[in-house]
Symmetry: C2
Subunit: 196 residues, 2 copies
Amino acid sequence: MRSKLTQRGKDRREQLIACAARLFAERGYHPTSVSDIVEDLGVGKGVFYWYFSSKEELLTELLKSSNHDLRVRQQLAIGEEPDPVRRIELGIRASLTWFQEHRDYFAIIAFAAADETFAPVLQRNREIAIADTIRHLKDGIVEGRITDQDPEGLAHAIHGVVSELTRHYIIERGEPVDRVADLAVAFCLDGLTNGR
Amino acid sequence: MRSKLTQRGKDRREQLIACAARLFAERGYHPTSVSDIVEDLGVGKGVFYWYFSSKEELLTELLKSSNHDLRVRQQLAIGEEPDPVRRIELGIRASLTWFQEHRDYFAIIAFAAADETFAPVLQRNREIAIADTIRHLKDGIVEGRITDQDPEGLAHAIHGVVSELTRHYIIERGEPVDRVADLAVAFCLDGLTNGR
DNA sequence: GGGATTGTTGACCGATCGGTCAAGTCTGCG
DNA sequence: CGCAGACTTGACCGATCGGTCAACAATCCC
């Protein structure tokens, strides 16, 4: 896929990514062959290797761009909100909404996270997300709104809650985002303990 | 591998599982071929198919037995503890300890959870674990110790925290169990909020 | 028109993998 | 000893997969 791409070329590239994403989500990465992808699109195999140097490259790009998309979505949702606790809440809601709209990606990300080849990409994605969360947490700690504990640990705990609730309620059960978001936010803020 | 197995046979079976577990953890399931496994053990390929009907069967058995082992560990740790909140805490600590001692299994489980073929086994394992947690939560709710919200949601949130903290601190960083357990327990009990 | 560049085809290749099997070895036991 | 059945061997098979390539079509621009 050397050098310049015309508009037609860019479209093809996006078609391939979209098509591969659907098939990867349905059957998994390894069981989906390059031949499956091009067949599904009704083109020859050479097309794939004109736009991507390998199957690996396609998934890597898919992972990077989807993560970027999610992050942009979070930042838009958070906007200029001054309250750090509310910023975290808005970030959680944006995540859940994004995954509801991109269910396909959940399975792909789960696979990639468990695969030696793609784990580094996912690791980097996660580091970025954790760093974002840590900033809000630190602001909250300074303001005395959030418990004064290691913000990195808190950030990972929050991400754990969000990812498991996404998996179970959004992806597996298809429940409405709001109900799940309320649950996630309530747990992250107050935990299990009753009353105060 | 039909019918009876002598002691020698049982040993071989366990050798194969242990050996496969190590290789699966190192390189992943798909990239580890049956030939790799038997070569590593220094035996012929037929040995594998004498004891297992397929590569799939071996991993399925590995997943089931490891989950059973973890659950026994949790029950031993919990013992006769009457306080439901404390029971949850003991369960969390037992989980973290088990994964520290069986790091190899974390990557394998992560892979299996993302693979269509093995997801059902993992799903079942998870359902059992969630059901255990829910029982403690319900006891705590009745006693007024735990917030009166959907116990299933709370259980998933707890599991999310534990699994992400295990991944990041125990598996990735190799930190001591106690420090991580304290963090997990504190977060699950009180969340982010400061003071009360 | 015509040449350069982009885009497309699909047969083909080498490698690998899960699984089979006919043949042979070891072990316990009557 | 001798036999039955547990266990082991490793060459082999069919299938699949990622990736290549020579040939060809479409498009752009001078």
